[in-house]
C-alpha cells in the first residue's frame, strides 16, 4: 500500500498542484513554449492526468484518455509524489523502470530545468492546502554535496 489510500485523495493533491504550476508564469511560460502534451499514468492508487501545453494556456485534465499525448509517463503515485519534492533521480528511476517513459525523451529532459522551481513549491502547496500529512521534507535528508 502506497502513501495515498484512494485515487480521489491523490487526485486532489496532484491535480491541485499541477493547476498551481500551470498558473505560475515562471514555469508555465516555458511549458507552453515546448508545446508538450504529457499523459501521466499513475498506479497505487490509479489515476490518469494529462497536462496539455499545446495551446495558449496549460491545461490540466484528470481522467483524460483521449487527448493525443506526445509523451506518456507511467509510475506509482509514491514515485510521482517524491518526484515533485525533487527527491527522484530521473536516470535511476528510468533505468530501474520505476518510471517508464514513452515518446521523445530528450523533449522531457529539456523541460526539467523549467520545472525545477516547482520542487520548492510542492511542500509549501501541501502545507497551505491541508495536505500537511503528505509533506515528507522534514524527514528527508538530502545527499551531501
Amino acid at each position: 500500500m502506497g502513501m495515498f489510500k484512494t485515487s480521489e485523495e491523490f487526485e486532489k493533491v496532484i491535480v491541485g498542484f499541477f493547476q498551481l504550476v500551470a498558473d505560475t508564469p515562471l514555469i508555465a511560460d516555458k511549458l507552453l513554449q515546448s508545446k508538450m502534451v504529457i499523459r501521466f499514468k499513475y498506479s497505487d492508487p490509479d489515476l490518469t492526468v494529462v497536462v496539455d501545453c499545446a495551446g495558449d494556456k496549460a491545461l490540466v485534465k484528470p481522467h483524460d484518455t483521449t487527448t493525443q499525448a506526445i509523451v506518456e509517463m507511467t509510475m506509482s503515485a509514491d514515485i510521482a509524489h517524491r518526484f515533485w519534492f525533487g527527491m527522484v533521480n530521473l536516470t535511476k528511476a528510468l533505468t530501474r523502470k520505476e518510471m517508464v517513459a514513452k515518446g521523445p525523451i530528450p523533449k522531457v529532459l529539456k523541460l526539467l530545468p523549467a520545472i525545477k522551481p516547482s520542487y520548492a513549491m510542492y511542500p509549501q502547496y501541501l502545507d497551505a492546502n491541508g495536505f500537511e500529512q503528505y509533506n515528507i521534507t522534514k524527514a528527508y535528508k538530502p545527499p551531501t554535496a
Binding site: 509523451v71 506518456e72 533521480n89 530521473l90 536516470t91 535511476k92 528510468l94 533505468t95 530501474r96 523502470k97 517508464v100 517513459a101 514513452k102 515518446g103 521523445p104 525523451i105 530528450p106 523533449k107 529532459l109 529539456k110 526539467l112 530545468p113 545527499p143
Partner: protein, 391 residues
Amino acid sequence: MLPEFFEFYNPTKVVYEAGVATDLKPELDLIGITKYFIVSDHIINDLGLVQKVADGLVDAGFEVTGKYLDVAQDARLKDVKKCADIVKASGAEGIISIGGGSVIDTAKAVNILFSVGGDLVDDYSGAHTLTKPLNPHVVIPTTAGTGSEVTMIAVIYDEENKEKLAFPDKFLLPNLAVLDPEMTISLPPKMTAATGMDALTHAVEAYVGPQASPISDAFAVGAIELIMKNLVTATRTGDDVDARGSMLIASTMAGISFTHSMCGCIHGMAHATGGLYRVPHGIANGIFLPFGLEYNFEEIKEKLARLAPVMGEDTSGLSEDEAARLAIAAIRKLSKQLNELGALPIRLRDVGVPEDGLVAIAEGAINDGTSFYNPREMDEEELLPYIQNAY
C-alpha cells in the same frame, strides 16, 4: 565522493585481434545461430570489407542470408523500415553490422523490428520500452569513435519531422563487439582524427559528468590514456596496426563509459552545430571539447586535474586549478597536432559556421537533451562567450 546510485551493465562480449573479423567461428558458435544478415554501407562494401567478413562466415559454415548496403550518413528511419523487411524475408536469425555509428545504430533499430515487430516510433520511442531480448547482433566497427558497439542507444534521423530520435534500451546492447584493427586501416586521416576526437569527448564528458561512477571512470581513464598516446600516430600513419588497435579499444572503452554516465554540453553544442550547419559530429566535438571544459571548469576542476597525468602531463607542484588547466591545454595540444596534419579543423569559422549563427548554437545546446547531464546548469547567455571563443 561516491554517487548516491549507479548501475553498471555490460553484457556485450568484446574480442580483439588483428584479422579476427574473418575468423569468428568460436564466438558465433557460442551465440548458437547459423544464419546472419549483413548491414553496412557502400563505402565499406567498396573497400572490400563486407566481402571479407562474408567470406569468413561462409568458410566457417555460416549462411549469409543477404546484405543491406544503403545506410546513409545519418541513420534514417526509412532505411530501418526497409531493411527490417528485407532481413525478415531473408530468413536470417541474427544481424552482423559492419561500419561506423550510422550503420550500427541502423542495425540496432532494424533488430527491434526484425525481432519483435511493430512500429519503431509509435511502439518504441522512449526509454527502456522493450520487454524481451532481441535476436543476436554482432557488431564490427570500422571507425574508432562512436562506441556504439557497446552502447545501449540507437540514434535514428526522422527525415519527415527533421529530428533525431533516441532509443535507449538495455536490449539494444549487441551480443558481440569485434575489434579488428585491420577493419579501420583504410579510414582516411580526417575521419580518423574526427572519430578519435569523438571518442575522446565521450570519455572526458563521461568522466567529469554528474552520472559518473568509479566503474565508468575506470573505462574513461583507460580510453583517454590510449587516445592521447595513439590518435596522432593513427592519423599520421594509418597502417600502424598497434595505433589503430589502441584507438579501437579506446573507442569501445569510451563507449562503455558514456553509455553509463552520459555526455553533457560539448555534445549539446556539437548536436546543435551538426543540425544547423551539417558539421560532422566528431569535428564539432573536437572543436568544442576544450571550450566546454572551460565552461564547466569550476564544477569539474577536481576531476580534470586528475586527468592531466593520464594525458601525459607532469603536475608535480601544481595547484588543482593549474593541473586542471593543464589537462585542457593537453587537449588543445592534441588538436593542434591533428590540425597541423591537415586532419582536424579547430575553429568553427573553418567548418562553414557563420558568425551570426553562434546564438542559434547556444540556443540549440541549451535545448538539447544532453543539457540535463551537464555538470554546470546550462544558461544560454553564459554559454555563448565560449561558443564565440570557439569561432
